[in-house]
């Protein structure tokens, strides 16, 4: 069995996919081309609608797992709310992707790293094993960094500035909606951000800072700002490369496609298949983020999957 067949076999244990794949013969899907052509994408609305129907289960994607799990409510405005269940193995593989993102942006042993985001964001809960039950090693543990988190709330910007002043993180991860408040606070205190950190990384679920916004904040704050793409429903992370300025992610963790919409647009919605998620399989999740796939070959990660957005 190849990994497509293994994924479909596992996914078929979940009520959502059991219905979706009814009549499908996984053994007939031998390559990614036939996989894309045969398997319909899964939309967020579909996840919400199926959650409503499967009242007995927390998530229609949930497969039987081993041992206790950490379950996170996802950051979507759907009704009902969506959840993601992860066991030790899921967490172990998910954190490898965050470690990849941290490495790409230059974090290494001995660095301090700050995360101005909620504890329920994967940027926070995957950062350190101390933050999350059943996470054997977080990105900071794997790389030898010292992490600090604070809720990403705009009116807590004075706390963000205290972290910058006294912790001096090499990289400061921040939610988009806190950038303006941080800039205001930095200006109010008359600080030069470059004295306290080397870069900001802006992230939010299924959303990216536009180029215009980014350059405006870069001018205002005087440090480079990189973007990190989170697609939480798919347990997907991709980091903007400081060299080629495209999003990089791990080829062994995801299969990424774009969904052509028939209007010759340069960028189309990204469709994500996750190879590592066991408890909550993700098969062709149609995200709200548009981009285009680019050939590998960036010197910072010659084999990485690259996405232009």
């Amino acid at each position: 069995m190849n990994r497509i067949q293994r994924l479909l076999q596992r996914a078929a244990k979940a009520s959502l996919y059991r219905k979706k794949f009814a009549g499908l013969k996984p053994r007939a899907l031998r390559d990614l081309r036939s996989f894309s052509a045969t398997i319909p994408p899964t939309r967020l609305e579909e996840l919400a609608a199926e959650t409503l129907k499967s009242a007995a289960s927390l998530s229609p994607r949930l497969c039987a797992g081993r041992g206790p799990r950490a379950i996170f409510q996802l950051e979507y405005d759907t009704q009902p709310a969506l959840y993601l269940a992860l066991d030790r193995a899921d967490l172990r593989r998910y954190v490898e992707v965050l470690k990849f993102c941290w490495s790409l942006v230059g974090l290494r042993k001995g660095d301090r790293v700050a995360i101005f985001d909620y504890g329920t964001s994967p940027l926070s809960y995957l950062a350190a094993s101390s933050f999350t039950p059943y996470l054997d090693r977080g990105a900071a543990d794997l790389l030898g960094c010292l992490p600090i988190c604070n809720d990403g709330v705009a009116n807590m910007s004075p706390r963000a500035v205290e972290i910058l002043r006294y912790v001096r993180p090499r990289v400061f991860f921040i939610r988009h909606d806190c950038l303006h408040a941080l800039a205001m606070e930095i200006e109010r205190q008359g600080l030069r951000l470059a004295d306290y950190t080397q870069a900001l990384v802006a992230a939010e679920n299924e959303s990216l800072l536009s180029d215009a916004e980014r350059s405006s904040f870069e001018k205002r704050l005087g440090v480079p700002i990189y973007r990190l793409l989170r697609i939480d429903a798919a347990m997907f992370l991709a980091m903007e490369c400081p060299r080629c300025r495209m999003l990089h992610t791990r080829r062994d963790s995801y299969f990424v496609e774009t969904l052509a919409e028939g209007n010759d647009a340069a960028e189309n919605p990204l469709v994500i298949t996750n190879w590592f998620a066991r408890n909550s399989p993700t098969v062709r999740y149609l995200s709200q983020v548009r981009g285009s796939l680019k050939p590998s070959g960036c010197p910072r990660g010659p084999k990485d999957l690259r996405i232009a957005v």
Partner: protein, 441 residues
Amino acid sequence: MKNGERRLAPDAMDRWPEERLAKFHLHKIRQLLRHVYRQLPFYRQRLARAKVDPEQVKTLGDLARIPTFSKQDVLQEIRRQGRFDFGLETIARRDPAVLCMTSGTLGSSFLYLPRKWRALRGDSLLRAYWWAGLRPGMRMLMAAPAWHSLAVQESRLIERVGVSTVVPWGTFLPRNAGNFIDTISDAKPDFVSIFLPMLFAILAECRRRGAKPATVFKSVQSILAVGAPMTPRSRQQLVRELGVGDIFEGLGNPEGLTAMECASHCGHHIFVDCCFVEIVDPKSGAPLPAGQRGNVVITTLIPHGSIFLRYDTEDLGTILPGACACGKSWPRMEVYDRRANELQISGQRIVPYDVRVCLDELPELVNLPFAVVRGKNKMDRLTLLMQKPASGNLEEIRVRIANLLRKQLNVEATQEWAEELPQRWKGVTVIEEKDWRGARV
């Protein structure tokens, strides 16, 4: 008891006799003193200035020779050195660590928390969750403020007990109450660990949605609440309204104090395996006997990460006299409020907790938000601002409140009703007169 449960059940340390606990404390404190003197510049300088040689501390009483320090000293040192690590942290490079922040009521400082700290503190805290009914195989709701040291300890005990955990999106701000309601309704946890003000925000959101709190909390057997003091009547009312088996209150601070209620609900047992607590006179600094209210001074007993030796928490508290009905020997304490929230009215020193206890005598007022107004000058009356109750004759209630305050606290009171307290005062029990007048204009 099943095998797994037997392995996890707390040991007999909480029944050690007083003498054995005192011996344990003296041993731990002497070890700690030697460690901080040798390794940590912050303490070496303080001990040298106070002319205290660690070897001269031979009894627990000798500890009083070491001067206390407070958050202001910590903040001053952080600002002076321009760094989070200013010499009270044991940093072992091979032991992975995280930094957490203390809350900002007095200003934020940083805690260096390595894995060894997490293991010892988490295993200690497991005892409290066990008392509150957490058992293997359950599902527990935990909030995930990754900035808070409690989350670091909880993540450890969840792994040890082997419970599934569910985490709502967001944080403890009232605007996230809806997420908590959804998560509790959908995931049906058996056990909920929560910040008390969030519990009140959830009740308010239930009212807004027209949902019955007891329906939302149907699956929940126990709640462990932290973050604000709860009066006995307030707890009973919450248990009734939520329809849960029991609510246990925990108190503590990120610097190292942990004290938790047992099923007797007669104060909070101090977790003496990890911290040593003194109550001292706010003026003289002399130790106070059980039953007297004073400053809470703590000493952490764990030699890893940030170490607090005779740290004045700036809280007002008491060690409760007598033994607990549960039979546990760990001393019990009560913490009433921040010292900064103490008011002097006609010679009486009171904190909002004292007012709350009086208000809770009236069933219509239990758990209703209120605030006391602090005047700029000497106060001869208590000014009380209170949210209107849903039912009852307001004038009659006002008179009953005045009588209760006169009888129990020996103060005269002026009282005003409000439809709702301004959002920015939620959870704030003392407001300055100028802010109050500003809000009325």
